[in-house]
Amino acid sequence: MKPKVGFYELTGCAGEMLHILNMEDILIDVFSKIDLVEFRIASSVKRPERVDIAFVEGSVTTEENLEALKSIREKSDVLVAIGDCAVWGGIQASTTGEDWKTLMKEVYGVEENYFRFLGEHKSLSECVKVDYELPGCPIEQDEFVRLFIELLEGIEPKIKDYPVCVECKIKEIPCLIVEKREPCLGPISVGGCKARCPYYGTPCIGCRGPVREEANVAGEVSTLVEKGWRKEDIVKRMELFAKRYKDIEKLVEVKK
C-alpha cells in the first residue's frame, strides 16, 4: 500500500509547495509513489484521515494556523517542517518584539484583530513536536527529494548543520567578507544550498537560518564591524531570517 502523504500550508508564500511543483522532470514519479491526501495549491483532494507523513510549510501566525497545526500533528505519524517559515518563523518573524498592534494599524489600517493574529510568528517546533526540519527559503529541491526517499524507505534522515562557508570553500569562491567587504552571513548560516548566493556574486542573507550548534554570531559581528559596517545594520541583517534564534541577542550582547 502506498504511504499516505499530506502537504499543508500555514502563513507564508507557498514557496515550498511551488518549489516541489517546480521539479517538473520527476514530479509525476514522486507523486506516483504516494497516496495524496491533501496538497491544496495543486489539488482539490482533501481527506481528513490519518497520514504517514505530513509536510508543513509556513509560520504559526494566526489562531487558525495553530488549530490547523495541532490537528495535523494529531493525525500524522511523521511531521516535517519545510522551509524557513516553518523552521524559524520566516521573514515575518523579524518583527518579533515590536508592538504588533501599531504594525497592524500602520499596514492594514485596522485596530481590531481581524486576522486572529497570535501577536507573533512562531516556528512549528514552538507549538508542537516536530520530527524533522528542512530549512531554506525556499527549500532545496535535492534535499527534499532525499528526505522524501529516506522517509519512504525508513532510513533515518541526517539534517545538515555546517555553515555555508564549507560549501563556498568547496566551490573555491573567494571569500566575500575578506575580498569584497560584503556583509555575508555565510559563517553563521546553515549550508546545503551549495553556496548559491556567493556563487551568483551576492552575499548570503541567511535564508536557511543559523547553524544551531555553534553559530559564532559575536565573531561575525566583530569581523564585519572591523570591515566598516555598522553593528546595528549587521544585527538587523541577521535578524531578517533568524530573529527567533534565541542566542542571537545574547551573543550580540556579549560584545556590546
Binding site: T11, E24, A42, V45, V107, F117, P138
Partner: protein, 429 residues
C-alpha cells in the same frame, strides 16, 4: 436563509474561502475571504538598505517573486535617479517573461485544466491526458530554467539588485535557454488549442472594465503608463488614484475601484488593450481565436494566458538573441545614492503590480507601498461572483460551489500577495 461556504479554495495560491448568503431565491451577500496571516512586509523593509529590498519583496509570493523584485528595483532606481543599462533592461524584461511562462503554464495545465476536464488535479489526469500534462510541464520548466540562469533559482532568486544584476548569464547558458524555449513552443500552442476548444458558461457574462501597463511599441510587461479600457492613459505615478480603495458595505474589506467601478487586470486585460503590439505567431493565433476572447467573460482570461504563453516563448528567444548579438557586458552599474521617491509598475502574470519607495540619503528604505494585482481584482471577482451566483440560482442550479470556484480560479489569484492589504471580511447578519 442559507449560507454556502466554499472552504479550502483549492488550486489557487494562498488561503481563501468564498462565502455566499442566499435568502430564498436571492443572493444577499458574496465575499471572497482572504485567510492569510498578516506578514507586515512593508514594515520589514523600513530601515533596510536598498540592496536588501528586492530579496525581501520576492518573498511576498513564490509564484511571482520576479515581478516583485523587478518592480522593486525599477522603483528604487527612479527614487535615486539612476538609469539602468539597456542590457539590464533587456534582462529584466526577460525575467518578467520567465515568470509569465512558468506561472501561466502552471495555471493553465496544472490548476485550470483539471476544471475543464473534470479532475481533482493534473496528477490524476496523467493516465488519460499524459501528453498534455507532459507538454505543459515542459513549458513550465522552460520558464523556470530562465529564472534559474538569471536569478539563481526558480523561487526567490538572489541576483536582482538596484543598478543591475550581481551575475549575468554566460553565452553557453543563453544558448541552452534558447533550446529549451524552442522545445516549449509545442506545449504553448497546445494550450491555445485546448482553451480555445472550451465553451465558456454564459452565466459569467457582464460588462467589464480593464487596466494594463502600456508597454510602448512592443507587447511586454513593464512601462510608464497605464491603459484603461475607457480610453484613458495615465502615468504610473497616479497609482493611488487608479487603485482607489474603498470600504465595502457590510464588511471591513477594502477593494480597488476606479471611478466607482471595479476593474480587471491580468492576461485578458493586457491582450484586449495591447493586441496591436503582439508580434510573430501570436498575431495569427489572436486573429484565429479573437471571437473566443470574450471581454465580458472573465473565464476568457485562460485563453488570453495561453496566447501570451506563445508570445512569451517567442519573445524570450528574441531577447536572448539580442543578448547574444550584443555580447554580455558589466552586470551592474555604479549608483550614486540620493534621497527621493519612485513608483514603478510591472505586469505580474495576474496583472498590474505597483511598488512605491521613499529612499533616504543613506540608501535605506524610509517608506514602502505595494499594490498587488489580486488586491486590484478582488472587487471585480466579487462582482462576478454575485452576478453569476444569482443567475445560477435563477436557473435552478443548486450546487453553486464548483461554478464559483472555477470563476475565482480564472483570475489566477495570488492570495499571499494580496493579504498585505485586504482586511478579513465579517458578515453582518
Amino acid at each position: 436563509m442559507r449560507e454556502i461556504l466554499v472552504e479550502h479554495l483549492a488550486r489557487v495560491e494562498g488561503h481563501g474561502n468564498i462565502r455566499v448568503v442566499v435568502d430564498k431565491e436571492n443572493v444577499r451577500e458574496v465575499k471572497m475571504e482572504i485567510l492569510e496571516g498578516p506578514r507586515f512586509i512593508e514594515k520589514i523593509l523600513v530601515g533596510r538598505s536598498i540592496d536588501e529590498a528586492p530579496d525581501i519583496v520576492a518573498r511576498i509570493c513564490s509564484i511571482c517573486p520576479d515581478p516583485h523584485s523587478v518592480a522593486c528595483v525599477n522603483a528604487i532606481e527612479k527614487a535615486i535617479g539612476f538609469r539602468p543599462s539597456e542590457q539590464t533592461r533587456v534582462l529584466r524584461e526577460l525575467q518578467l517573461i520567465s515568470d509569465v511562462i512558468s506561472s501561466h503554464a502552471l495555471h493553465l495545465f496544472l490548476l485550470a485544466l483539471p476544471d475543464f476536464l473534470g479532475y481533482p488535479d493534473a496528477i490524476s489526469m496523467v493516465s488519460k491526458y499524459g501528453k498534455e500534462v507532459a507538454l505543459g510541464l515542459k513549458v513550465k520548466k522552460a520558464g523556470n530554467v530562465i529564472k534559474e540562469v538569471l536569478t539563481g533559482r526558480s523561487v526567490h532568486g538572489c541576483t536582482v539588485k538596484p543598478g543591475g544584476y550581481t551575475r549575468v548569464p554566460t553565452q553557453e547558458e543563453l544558448e541552452k535557454l534558447e533550446k529549451s524555449l524552442a522545445e516549449a513552443m509545442d506545449g504553448a500552442r497546445l494550450a491555445v488549442d485546448l482553451f480555445a476548444s472550451f465553451d465558456l458558461p454564459e452565466v459569467f457574462r457582464e460588462e467589464n472594465m480593464f487596466m494594463a501597463v502600456d508597454p510602448g511599441e512592443v507587447y511586454g510587461f513593464s512601462g510608464e503608463h497605464i491603459l484603461i479600457s475607457n480610453g484613458e492613459r495615465r502615468p504610473v505615478e497616479n497609482y493611488r488614484l487608479l487603485t482607489n480603495e474603498r470600504v465595502v458595505p457590510h464588511s471591513t474589506a477594502k477593494h480597488s475601484y476606479y471611478q466607482g467601478e471595479s476593474f480587471m487586470v491580468g492576461a485578458l486585460a493586457r491582450i484586449l488593450l495591447n493586441r496591436g503590439k503582439l508580434k510573430g505567431e501570436a498575431v495569427e493565433l489572436a486573429d484565429r481565436i479573437w471571437e473566443k476572447l470574450d471581454p465580458k467573460n472573465p473565464l476568457a482570461n485562460n485563453l488570453a494566458q495561453a496566447l501570451e504563453l506563445v508570445y512569451s516563448v517567442e519573445r524570450a528567444i528574441e531577447l536572448i538573441e539580442w543578448l547574444l548579438d550584443h555580447g554580455i557586458g558589466e552586470p551592474r552599474g555604479e549608483m550614486k545614492i540620493k534621497a527621493g521617491v519612485g513608483v514603478a509598475a510591472v505586469e505580474a502574470p495576474r496583472g498590474i503590480l505597483y511598488h512605491f519607495y521613499e529612499v533616504d540619503g543613506e540608501g535605506k528604505i524610509a517608506r514602502a507601498d505595494i499594490v498587488t494585482p489580486t488586491a486590484q481584482n478582488a472587487a471585480n471577482i466579487e462582482k462576478y461572483l454575485r452576478i453569476s451566483a444569482q443567475r445560477l440560482l435563477e436557473r435552478g442550479v443548486d450546487n453553486l460551489e464548483p461554478h464559483l470556484e472555477m470563476l475565482v480560479r480564472a483570475y489566477d489569484p495570488c492570495i499571499s500577495c494580496s493579504a498585505h492589504l485586504v482586511r478579513v471580511v465579517r458578515l453582518n447578519e
